[in-house]
C-alpha cells in the first residue's frame, strides 16, 4: 500500500486536520492536573522550613527575607536542597502538560523539625532527613532509588522518637528518627491521603475505604478498626479521648478513642478538608463551604460560625485569642476566637491550600504560586512575600 500523498492540497488538509484534533484535545483534555504539592511551613525557632513546588526543601531566615537579602543568606543559616525524583517516562493530557522527562517531586507534607534534623516526605514516596543547619542529607527511606512507599500526602507525625507516615499505597509506616530504620508497617488496604495522629501510645489513621484504625505506636498491632459512615476528608485530631475527623459526607465526627464509638456528629455544607484545631474545649473547624465553625468539643453543639466568603482548605492557627484562617481567594481572616468577631482581612491575592504556620504574631502562608507570605496579625499587614528562585 502506497502511503505517499502526491497531492499538495490533500497534504495540507491532512496536516490541518491533525492539528485541529490535537488542539481540541488540548483545549478540552487538560482537566487532570499534575501534582504540585502544598507543603506548609515549620520552624526550629529561628529559621523556617518548607517544601517548594520545584522539589526543594527550603530553609530561610525571616529576618533576611524581611530585609530582602539575596537568598540564600548563608550567614543566617539559609540553604536549600533539591529533592530528585525518578526519570519520568512521560505523561500528558493533551499536548500542553507534563513534559516527557520531568522528574519533579511534589511535596504535600509539611516538614517536621526535631533536634538537628528536618524531615520531609514526598509524593514520590520517600522520606528525607536533612541537617537543619547545613542542609546535608542524613538519610533517605526507602534507601534504594527505585523503591517507594507510595505517594505521601499527609503530614509526618513525630512522637516518641518515631516518625509515623501514611501513604497512597494504604500503608502506615513507623520509622526510627535518627537513621530512618523501619520499625513496623501496617497495611490498611485502602489509599491514605490524610495524616495519622498520635495520642497516648496509639496511632490513629483513616483510609479512603472509610475505615479508621487504632494501632499500637510501639509495634503497629491493631487495637481496633471501625467503618466510618463515609471516607475521611481530613486528618484526625485527638482531644480528651475523642478523635475528631471530617468525612466526605459533610460531617465532622467525634469518635471515642478507646472503643471507636461515635459520640457525636456535626454537619457542615461541604467537606471538612482541613484538620481541626482544638483549644479550651472548643473545636475550630474550617469547611469548604467557606465557614469556620466553633463547636463544643464535648457535645458537638455549634457555638458560633463565621462566613469567610470562599472555601477554606487550609488549617488555621490560633494566636492568643485570635483565630487566623485563609480561604481559597487568598483572603486571610483574623477573627476573635471567643465570638467569631471579625477583626481584619488581609488579601494575599493567591490561593492557599497549605496549612498556616504561626511564629509569635507572624503567620506564614505558602501559596499555590509558591510564594511564602508573612503576615503580622498584630498590625493586620502583609510584611513581605518570598519565593526561592532556582539558581
Amino acid at each position: 500500500m502506497k502511503l505517499k500523498i502526491k497531492n499538495t492540497q490533500n497534504r495540507r488538509i491532512l496536516v490541518l486536520f491533525i492539528i485541529a484534533v490535537a488542539l481540541c484535545l488540548t483545549a478540552v483534555g487538560c482537566a487532570a492536573q499534575a501534582p504540585q504539592g502544598w507543603s506548609g511551613c515549620t520552624s526550629n525557632g529561628t529559621n523556617i522550613y518548607y517544601g517548594s513546588m520545584d522539589s526543594r526543601i527550603i530553609c530561610f531566615n525571616p529576618d533576611s527575607r524581611g530585609r530582602g537579602l539575596t537568598f540564600p543568606d548563608k550567614e543566617k543559616g539559609e540553604w536549600y536542597a533539591l529533592i530528585r525524583g525518578p526519570v519520568s517516562s512521560g505523561g500528558m493530557c493533551g499536548f500542553g502538560c507534563a513534559p516527557a522527562t520531568a522528574s519533579k517531586v511534589a511535596i504535600y507534607s509539611t516538614p517536621v523539625v526535631a533536634d538537628e534534623l528536618v524531615y520531609v516526605a514526598t509524593y514520590f514516596g520517600k522520606v528525607h532527613a536533612y541537617n537543619t543547619v547545613t542542609g546535608a542529607e542524613r538519610w533517605i527511606y526507602p534507601r534504594d532509588m527505585g523503591d517507594s512507599m507510595g505517594g505521601i500526602v499527609g503530614n509526618i507525625v513525630l512522637a516518641e522518637n518515631t516518625l509515623y507516615i501514611t501513604s497512597s499505597s494504604g500503608y502506615i509506616y513507623a520509622l526510627e528518627m535518627e537513621y530512618g530504620d523501619k520499625k513496623w508497617e501496617f497495611n490498611t488496604g485502602g489509599r491514605i491521603w490524610t495524616a495519622s495522629v498520635y495520642s497516648d501510645g496509639k496511632v490513629y489513621a483513616s483510609n479512603y475505604d472509610g475505615k479508621l484504625f487504632a494501632l499500637s505506636g510501639k509495634d503497629g498491632s491493631l487495637i481496633w478498626e471501625i467503618e466510618l459512615p463515609a471516607s475521611s476528608s481530613s486528618s484526625p485530631e485527638v482531644y480528651k479521648n475523642k478523635i475528631i475527623i471530617g468525612t466526605f459526607d459533610h460531617y465532622l465526627y467525634a469518635i471515642n478513642q478507646l472503643d471507636g464509638q461515635i459520640e457525636w456528629q456535626f454537619k457542615g455544607n461541604g467537606w471538612f478538608w482541613a484538620q481541626v484545631i482544638v483549644d479550651d474545649d472548643i473545636i475550630y473547624a474550617c469547611c469548604l463551604d467557606g465557614n469556620i465553625y466553633a463547636i463544643n468539643a464535648d457535645s458537638g453543639d455549634l457555638i458560633w460560625q463565621y462566613d469567610s466568603g470562599a472555601a477554606i482548605s487550609s488549617r488555621p492557627v490560633l494566636i492568643d485569642n485570635w483565630l487566623v484562617a485563609v480561604n481559597e481567594k487568598g483572603d486571610l481572616h483574623i477573627i476573635n476566637s471567643d465570638g467569631g468577631v471579625f477583626k481584619q482581612v488581609v488579601a494575599l491575592g493567591n490561593k492557599i491550600d497549605a496549612p498556616l504556620y504561626a511564629l509569635g504574631d507572624i503567620v506564614y502562608a505558602h501559596g499555590r504560586d509558591d510564594y511564602v507570605y508573612a503576615v503580622d496579625t498584630a498590625s493586620g499587614q502583609m510584611m513581605w512575600k518570598f519565593k526561592a528562585e532556582m539558581q
Binding site: K2, L3, G29, M92, W273, A311
Partner: protein, 272 residues
C-alpha cells in the same frame, strides 16, 4: 464563582457519573460504561439523522462528479447545478453537520467530567469538591474506586490492550462508513485518514488516563453496533462477499452506487 459551562454541562454530567457509580458497587469504570451507553442512546436520533444525510449525499456522488466534469472550469455554474441537484433530491448538504455540532459539546462535557471524576491528584480531588452536588448518592461515593479490571482508571493502561481496542474499534467504525474513493487520486488521502485517526487515538491511549480510553473504546463499540443496525450490515468494511467479484468489474462510481443499493436491500434495523 462557577462558570456557565460548569453549571449547565460539566456539573450535571459529573454528578450523574458519580451517583451512578454508587449503584454499581462504587465502580467508576462501570459507571463510565453505563453513562456512555445512555448518552449515545439519547443522541441516537441525531446520529441516525447524520448518517442518513451523509449517505444521501454519497448516493449523489456519481452525479456530482459528472457535474464537476461538465462545469469544472466554471465554479459558479457548478455550484448552481449542485444546489439544484440537492434540491431535486430533497437533500440538505449541511444536514450532516448540525447533528454533529449539537453532539460536540455533550461529548466535551462527558470527556471533562470523566477526567474530573478520576481525581488522580490531591489538587484535583480538592477541585472536584467545587463541582459536586450535595446528593447523598454523590457524597457517599467519594472518593471513587478507580480500579476496574486490570486498570487504574486515573493512570494510563500499562499494557497495550486498551490502545489496541481503541485503535482497532475506531478503524472498524471508520471503514464501515467511508466509501471507497471514486477518484483514484483520493485513494491515498483516504487511506491516510482512515489509518491516521485510529493510530493517533491509540497513541493517546498510552498517555491519557485509562478511564478516558475506556470511554473511547465503549463509544466506538457502540458506534459500530449502531452503524451495523442502521446499515443492515458491515457497510464498506465488508460490502457482501457474493458481490465482490461483480463489484470489481464495475467502474468505481458504479461500484459505489451498487454497494449503497445492496446495503439498502439488506434487512436493517432501520430501512430507508
Amino acid at each position: 464563582m462557577p462558570d456557565i459551562w460548569s453549571i449547565v454541562a460539566l456539573d450535571p454530567f459529573l454528578n450523574v457519573l458519580v451517583a451512578l457509580s454508587t449503584l454499581v458497587s462504587h465502580n467508576i469504570g462501570l459507571s463510565i460504561i453505563i453513562i456512555t451507553i445512555i448518552v449515545r442512546a439519547i443522541l441516537f436520533p441525531l446520529t441516525l439523522r447524520q448518517t442518513q444525510s451523509t449517505k444521501a449525499i454519497q448516493t449523489l456522488q456519481p452525479k456530482i462528479q459528472e457535474l464537476q466534469k461538465k462545469y469544472g472550469r466554471n465554479q459558479q455554474k457548478l455550484q448552481q447545478e449542485m444546489m439544484k441537484l440537492y434540491k431535486e433530491a430533497g437533500i440538505n448538504p449541511l444536514g450532516c453537520i448540525w447533528p454533529m455540532l449539537v453532539q460536540f459539546p455533550i461529548w466535551i462535557a462527558l470527556y471533562q467530567s470523566i477526567m474530573l471524576a478520576l481525581a488522580s491528584t490531591p489538587e484535583s480531588l480538592l477541585d472536584l469538591s467545587r463541582h459536586l452536588y450535595s446528593w447523598p448518592m454523590v457524597t457517599q461515593a467519594i472518593p471513587l474506586n478507580e480500579t476496574f479490571l486490570w486498570l487504574h482508571l486515573s493512570r494510563p493502561d500499562p499494557y497495550l490492550i486498551l490502545a489496541i481496542i481503541v485503535g482497532g474499534t475506531m478503524w472498524v467504525q471508520q471503514k464501515m462508513v467511508t466509501p471507497p474513493p471514486t477518484d483514484p487520486r483520493q485513494q491515498s488521502m483516504n487511506q491516510m485518514t482512515t489509518l491516521m485517526m485510529p493510530l493517533m487515538f491509540a497513541m493517546f491511549t498510552l498517555s491519557f488516563p485509562s478511564g478516558l480510553a475506556l470511554y473511547w473504546a465503549i463509544s466506538n463499540i457502540i458506534g459500530i453496533v449502531m452503524q451495523y443496525l442502521i446499515s443492515g450490515g458491515w457497510g464498506y468494511l465488508r460490502p457482501g462477499s457474493k458481490d465482490k467479484k461483480s463489484l470489481k468489474s464495475l467502474p468505481p462510481a458504479e461500484q459505489q452506487s451498487k454497494v449503497i443499493t445492496d446495503s439498502q436491500k439488506k434487512k436493517g434495523f432501520f430501512k430507508r
